[in-house]
Each structure stands twice: as C-alpha cells, then as structure tokens.
C-alpha cells in the first residue's frame, strides 16, 4: 500500500508537470489506471479514510473561542428564501394534529425532495459515474437499484470533522461577488492562502468563497445556471494537496459553464477519479466577515442508505 502511494505520487508529479502547461488536457484515466483507488480495492470512503482519531484530536485543538459559524442555508419551500436547483422539488406537507382540549397532540410533516441533492448538500460517490463506472470502478449494473445504490451510498461517510481552511477568493479580489463564470486558478488559491497566512495540509476541508451565496433566494435563475468556481487546473492543484473535501458557496463548486469540451469535469475528477467529496451551496459570509481562516469543520450527512448525497448543515468552530 505504501508502495502504491509512493508510485501514485510520482505519477501525480508527472501528470501535474504536464497539466500545469495545459490544464484543459485533463482526461478521465482508463479504468486500469484509476482502479483500485489509492484507498484500496473495494474501498467506498475515499478521502474519508484520511480522517483518524489523531486528525480529529489535532483539529479539536484549533478551537480557541468556541465560536460556531453555521454554514448551511435554510431550506424553505418559498423560492424567495431558498435555492432549489433546476427541476428538483422541496416540499413540506404539514400533517397537523387536530387540537385536543387540555391534552397533548403532535404535528409532523411529509417531505418530498431530492434529499441527496438539495440545499446545502454533500455529494457522495454514488452521485457520479463515467459511462457506467463509479469511484473505484463499481458498475451501475452491479450496484444500481430502484431504491438506492448497493455501494457508495452516503451512509458510508459518517460525520466528518477536520481542520477547515477558508480560501476567500472574493476577499482576495476585493469584490462582493466574483464575476459570473470566473475561472479560479491555482494562483488565485495560492495567493488567497498566502494572504491568510495558511497552508493546506492533507485531510483538510477546503472551503472556497466566491461571495455568491448572497444570490440564493434572490437571483435563483442566475445562481443556478452560471457561476464562478475552480477550473480544471485549480482542481488538479487541490487534488495534489490531498484534501478531505472541497466546498464552496456556489451551486457546483466548479465553474459553469464548464471548460470546453467537458460537462462538470471537476465533479468527475473529485468524485469518480480521486474519491474526494464535494459540498455545495454553503453560506460563507459570516465566516469571511469574521476573518476566520482556520477552524474546525464538522459536517454530519444523514445516513440515507444508498443515497447519492445528503442535505447538510455544516459548521465551522474556532
């Protein structure tokens, strides 16, 4: 295993010396080059494996004030209060009790929604496939069912707690919002980190700010169709830093429209090729306003068996 990782590092170096010149040349490697993943044949947790008691303990020591920042957006049935992506739905149907004089009664609600892919949300590996092949080369014919996936479902993830680092690109550029479809480069990432006096470490939750969460519920059409985000080159540099997950305050983490000729190549790179999680639609304004650059990041995906992801409500603690 150690040998494989060493070999992988060499390979990555080769890949990156090539890709630094022409990022657009990324291609999904053939299956025999990407499987088994660096976490081993049959692995379903990818970068989640980098979280260990030691890393949790190290992260916990970053808590200096106990201040908590809520990074999840409220999920409302009112489109003026929430962003719902495309044809997805989020509906709450109250099942009210009829009140009983001087006695207890209870209310509940039916919720109908694409729960794995709604609101602030966590992408698990069952979400994406290349042809019919998922992370670690699980195949659709083997793992797909009408009621979820037999492998790679979000129930394999568990709570993630790690060092979190905010890479504030909107702050770096001094703008409220990054321009529509701005492609964040490796240099942008590195400069924002340097400005915040931070370096990435393996196993980090990397949180990228564009300022765009301000548009959720206000300009849903725009927010949902085009957005600034990391391009292929920035994604490749991030992969080289061995992160636990990549998150952003946009619909898709990565830039849209995608760099030609791809459709969401960073999704494929992270979720299929490298086993790195994505989190979309974070609220980052309070975190940025507090100049919180390094913190503990905690996210608790629901244990929805076989689901492609989960709505989440992550926090940063410092």
């Amino acid at each position: 295993m150690r040998f494989i990782r060493a070999a992988m590092s060499v390979l990555l170096l080769l890949v990156f010396s090539a890709t630094s010149l022409r990022a657009q040349t990324w291609q999904m490697p053939p299956e025999n080059q990407r499987c088994p993943s660096k976490w081993g044949a049959g692995d379903q947790r990818g970068a989640g494996n980098s979280m260990k008691p030691e890393s949790v303990l190290r992260a916990a020591k970053l808590i200096k004030t106990g201040e908590i920042f809520e990074l999840g957006a409220v999920l409302s049935t009112d489109p003026k209060e929430s962003f719902i992506n495309g044809s997805r739905v989020f509906n709450i149907y109250t099942k009210p009790a009829l009140p009983i004089p001087n006695a207890r009664a209870e209310n509940e609600e039916l919720v109908v929604t694409e729960l794995g892919q709604i609101g602030t949300q966590f992408d698990a590996f069952a979400h994406q496939m290349w042809g019919d092949s998922f992370y670690n080369c699980f195949k659709l014919g083997d793992i797909g069912t009408r009621s979820g996936f037999k492998k790679l479902g979000v129930e394999n993830v568990g709570s993630l707690m790690s060092r979190g680092v905010l890479i504030d690109i909107a702050g770096l550029k001094g703008v409220e919002l990054l321009p529509t479809s701005y492609i964040i480069t490796p240099e942008d990432l590195q400069q924002a980190l340097a400005k915040a006096n931070q370096k990435l470490q393996p196993g980090d939750a990397v949180i990228i700010r564009t300022g765009w969460s301000k548009l959720m519920g206000k300009e849903n059409q725009r927010y949902g169709s085009v957005n600034p985000g990391i391009g292929i080159a920035a994604a490749q540099w991030l992969v080289s830093q061995d992160p636990l997950l990549i998150a952003a305050d946009t619909c898709c983490v990565e830039v849209r429209p995608s760099e030609k000729p791809y459709s969401l190549p960073v999704h494929a790179m992270m979720l299929i090729q490298h086993g790195i999680y994505l989190i979309e639609n974070l609220e980052l304004e309070a975190l940025a306003a507090a100049r919180a650059a390094e913190f503990v990041f905690v996210v608790q995906p629901l244990k929805l068996k076989g689901a492609t992801g989960s709505a989440v409500a992550p926090i940063a603690i410092r």
Copy 2:
C-alpha cells in the same frame, strides 16, 4: 431575567418537593404559569440558549483521543435494516442517469418521508402542542400553515455541541435490554451516574441507554409499540438539572405505555413546558461498550424551515 430564574428555582423546588412524593401528579401548568418561558417572551430556542461559546470551548477540552462514535442509525428503505415508526414512510426513488459512453452522468433520488420524525431524530418545539398551544404559548392558529410552521421550526436550532453524558441504565442493571415498559426512576439515573463517576451539569446532552437499539430492524413491531424509558419522576429530576437535551436508544425516550392517565407526558413536559429537546432512536451500543461516560456530543439538525424536527446523525467524540 435573573429574578425570574431565581423565582423559577424556588418554584421548581416547591414543585419537586411535592412531586418526589407523588410523581404521577404532574400537570401541564396553565399558560400564565408557563409563559413566557424562562428564556423570555417570544423565545424559540429554549434550552438551545444554554449553548454559548464558553460552553462549546469547555466541551471541546473533553476531547482526549479524537475517537468518534456514530450514534445515528442507518435509514434504509428495507424494514429489516431500519425502524420506521407506525404509518410513517421512508422511500428512496432512484433517479438514475442513463450511462453515456466515455462521459460523466449523474444520479440522484427522490426521497419521500416524514423527514422531521424519522429514524434517529431530533424533536423541535413545533412537534408538540397542548390544546392549540406550543412552547412559549405560540398558538396553532397563528403559526400553522400547510407547509410548515411560522415559528418554532427546527431551522431555529442550529448545530448543538455540548458536553454529553451517558447514563447507562442497562449497564447499571447488568442486562442486555431493560424489561419492556420498565419505568426508569430518578434513583436509577443517580445510581448510574454515580457508578460512572459523573455528575450532570447545566447544558448537558443527557444520553440514556436501555439497550433497546438492538431491536431496530429486528423486532420493529415490539420496538415501536412499548419500551422502557424515563417516567414522570425521572423526567422531573432531569428538568431540575437544566439539560440541553434528553436522548435515548428508544422510539420515545420516555416509557411506553405512558403512566396513567397521560399520553407521552414527558414529551409535553420537555417540548412544551420547558423547551428541552429530545432525540430518539440513538445507537448506543458501541459507546457503552467503550465505557465512554463523558464526551462531546454534536448534532446537526437539517435547517428545514418550519419543520417539527429533523432526521439526524449525531456523534460522540472523546
């Protein structure tokens, strides 16, 4: 405010000197005696207000090894793998992509479920009312809508992080499972705490173990209809300790059938009268096996606007 709390303490003393003799005499106080709540008129967060940066910081210092225990049950559409309560449903409908040769495609799923009240779940204050009156005397006619509640929804809660204490009653009694409908007493709670060398502190997450989570997915009919749990007297003693929340490895935290003549009186006492949260259907076997008595408890309810609760996947960290 300080005055009110002092007065309240006196009142509680009076109440408890009375109730220690005859616990079954609990009654929901009239509105003018329970409203405004001790957290102030219009308050929607109840005991959630006890969480402050200092308490989070204090809790974080309890992390000694970085070991994480997952306390949430997997939510499966297969009743052999999950407990679904009564007539509620939990259905995942895969929305699979048709694979595209040598290109990315994405899967998602529609989920139809009573999301506020399913699986391991967190009860918010909109869940329970007495007559038409909720926590802090919000009224159904004022806050109820067909798509959620205007006040007291689970989106007001946010992530909770606090000291957690396991009160292992099954361990105290030396049994795998507490007997069906066993009523946990104040003395049981106190003895189990003493055995673990712990004392409750204000703002604690109190986690009560009966051993019954072993029945989920195996004996759903039994698990869902009757269970051991705290009775009225134990609940009143817990209230006197000012907890953040009460949780258990049963459907209802409190004993079922309920002590006559009530229907789930502890739900009414905690969620309506005192503003203390409940968490149901925890998995506590690994935590108990590791003899983890004191730890950090973290739960992240989804921010479902106006919902009565949320499926959750809490953790203990030590």
Copy 3:
C-alpha cells in the same frame, strides 16, 4: 320526500324572485335552513342521486354516431404542456427497470401530486366547507383525518353518465375567448341554449364553454389567476334547473375575481349548499367545433377513499 321537494321548489321560487333583482345578495343559509339537504340527512352523494338506471338508459339513446370527444387535458410534468394550479405539484418519477437481455422487465412510476385537485378535475364535497361545516352539515372535527375524510370523499361518487349539454358562451358572443373576468349572466346561458335549440333537464351535465382552455400550457399565469365564468345570478339559475354537475373550460367554473365580497361563492353554493358537483379545466374546443350541443357525458372519478376530488378524463359521446 316528495313533499319536501315540492316545498323546496316553492322556496326556490321565493328565493329566485328575490335574487333575480339583486343576485349579489346571496348568502350561505344558516345550517338549520340548508340541512338536511334535499337528498336527506346523512346523504353523501347530492345531485349524484339524480342518476338512475332510467336516466342512464335515456342518455344512452342520445348516442347516434358513436363519435367520442375527449374532454380531459393531458397531465404533463412540463408546464408548457399542462396547467398546474398555484403551488400544487405534478411530478412523475420513472422507476425504470434495468433491461435484461432476452427477458421481460417492467417499468413503473411514482407520482406525487394533489391528485384530487389537479388537471381536468372533479370536485367532491369534502373539498369545500363553510366555517367547519360541509355539505349536509358534516363537521370537520368529525370527518377530518390526516389521510383523508371519513365522509364525503370522492369514492362515494362513482361513474357519472348522463345527458350532457354544451352551453357555448364564446360561440354565442362570436369570440375566440371570452374577456378576462367576464361575468356570465342567466341571460347568456338562456340565449346560448336557445341558439342551440336545447333546454336543460333535471340531472343534466351542464358544460359551459368560454374558449379559455386554449390558454392551458400557454398562458398559465393568466389562466390560473383570472377567468370569465358564471356569476352568482347565473349559478342560482342553474341551481333552479337541478343539474347533476356544472363544468367548464376554466380553472374554477365561476368568474374570478369573485363578485364582492365573496371568495368563490359558486363553489360554496354548489358543493356545500346544494350538493352539485363541479368539473374544472375541460378541453372543449373539439366539441364546440363539431357543434355537438347534446350528447352523453361520462366521467369516472378515481375511487380515492376520503379524497376531496379526482383528476379525471371525461368524454362526450354523440
């Protein structure tokens, strides 16, 4: 019973001599004046009782050519093809089979929708209440449940087959579409009938054409918010003709905005006061183009126990 109906006729005469002068004075009668309904205490079928073997046989004799006109609109998830009212949803989630080489496999779909009140739809009596009181003075507290109504559900209706008469007001006025919010008068109805050489008979399905079905899927916003339709006076005249049901090619059969100071008074008059069914959102263009004025009308509401109505696909046969 005969006595009651005779007395009722006298009463109606009195009412109408009054209301012909000032139609806007309609008021819901107090309960002791409208209950029991003319169909008897406890009756749940209202005007559906007027259908008898003799009336079916009489209707069948109207079939002269065997030509069938489909009056139901296609229910599509694409808003460019269907009209979905307000915040209601109509979603189809395919549950596709994975194909098996040289063997049978089967597809199905989950449908999530307000099925009682979607598309071309039939209103049953559980749909409307005055205060907490329904047709025949059934009470919400007695018949309401979280999963339907114990009385007055659409399963009590059964298939309806009767003489149908098209009252083509758009044709009478020589317009493609009646003007927005045009109030159809008793005189309009009578003139259109005279032009078509028809008279209403007790038990008829009365079909009113405004031309507006042409807007479904094309101008949903307009179609769903304002429309021409019968006013209070026309509704009262129709009631005096003892119809089985009133139907139209608009969202609401009756004019919108409603005549002041009411909200959908014709709904209240028909469904609560008189027990006469309504059908909304018919497609009537082919029927009108064929100058079919008298025909057999057949509608088959689904037998959804306790539901307030049903999506339907009625036909006219001549």
Copy 4:
C-alpha cells in the same frame, strides 16, 4: 395493410396449430417478426385502434336497462380496505384548511403513489419491455426519461368503450374462489362462454372472473403473491380473438407463479408482442351475481403523460 392482416392471420393459424399442442413453447418473436405491429410502424395504440365510432355505436345498443356496475376497487390508505402490491405505496396526506368563521375554506390532499400501477389499474405499453424493446420495437434509450416515457404513455389511450363479455370461470367451476395458481385453459374459456351463450367478437373487452377480488384487503399477502389466471395457451387463444383488452379480478390477469421458465409471459405477449391492454384488480362479484354476461364496458385512464398505466374505475352498463 389488409394484406398484412391477411398474412398475419395465416401466421396466427400456423402458430396456433403448433401451440395448441404445446402451449409452453411460446417465445417472444425476434424483432423483425413482431415489428412493425399489425397496427403499423410507429403505432402507439395497439388494439385501441379497433375502437371506432361504429363499434361504440354497436356497443351502446347493448344498453337495455341503464344499470351500472362499478368494477373499480376503492383505493384506501388502510391495508384492511385495499390491496397495494408489493413495495408500492398509496398515501393520502390531507392538506386541510383552517376553518374561517362564516366563510368558505378549501381542503385538498397530496397523494404519493405508483399511480400507473396501483389499485384497479390499466396497463399501457410503456409498462413492459423485452430486453430494451417495447411494443412496436420502441427502444428504452430512445423513449425513457426520468419523468415518464416519450412514447407509449397512457395518455395515448383515451377512454375505451366497447362490448364487454364476462367469462366467469369461478361460476363455471361452481366455486367461490378458483384454487390458488389454477391455470385457466382455452377450454375453460370456451366452456364458460358457451354456458353464458356468448361468443367473443373482435374489439371486445374480455373480463375474466376467478372470484379472487374477495381477498383484496382481507388476505393481501396471498392475493399479491399467487393467483389463478390464464396460462400461455389461454392467452394465445384470446389473442386469436382480437380483443381490445383482457381484464380480471386478480393482481396480474395471468396465473402466478408463471409457467416455467417464464416471468409473466402473458404480460409480454399482450403488451409487447400484440399491443393488447390489461386491466388488473377488478371487482366482479356484483356483475357475476347479476348474471351480466354481455354489456358495455367503459374505462377512462387518466391522461398521465408518459406514464406506464393508470389507476382506473371502470364500469359495466347493461
């Protein structure tokens, strides 16, 4: 076209002289032998094409008394009142209005169900495929979407009105219920018809009675897993009679378990190979008790665009 039908008749004769000897030899013909269907390339209505104004007029003349028999089962959320097949769901969530004193308010409901395949239900051609190939050789890759099928959806069917014939096999055998898994033979069908003094005609709705609808809501487990029904030979004889549709008072019309080595071969034969509709879960007891052997059959599938079928509430009129 006439030539093709003549050729088809010859072919059928050949097929049947063979199959009468060994029914179990049925195989799905290769695509070039079954496509285009006898109704022409691109046809989506199959046997629905046999319905014409003349056939409707002919059927209408069968109405002698105006008596209507409701053949649809009530669809209830209570499993003691309805049969819900396997893992399908039928849930009604009332969306009640809060009553307003002395004013109108309206109730509605959300319904969540496999609407194309629930209760008394009509199978359209998108329901079944052989490999990835449907009726008339439409292909899954061409017509499948996440929200229905682009071709062969139930919206293509329209109301069906035709002569109906009851083939009462339980009556023929003099039993309340046919034995579990009894295979109805061609001879059974012919004897029951002879006993009722009826002959099948092209375009008939063929209604087969086993007595099993009595088990719906009472023995759902048994009703849903095994049942008497037509076998391959009986199905082939029925195909030779050119019916509009085949219906029965069982879950599946055809016998279960299926004759080896097939899985529901009659579904494949009718819906894929021959374009003949199926209707399942009829209530036939009242019809049989009235000895109604010949009647008008009317069914109105909902116009659910792209759906595999529809819940229905058909009637017989005599």
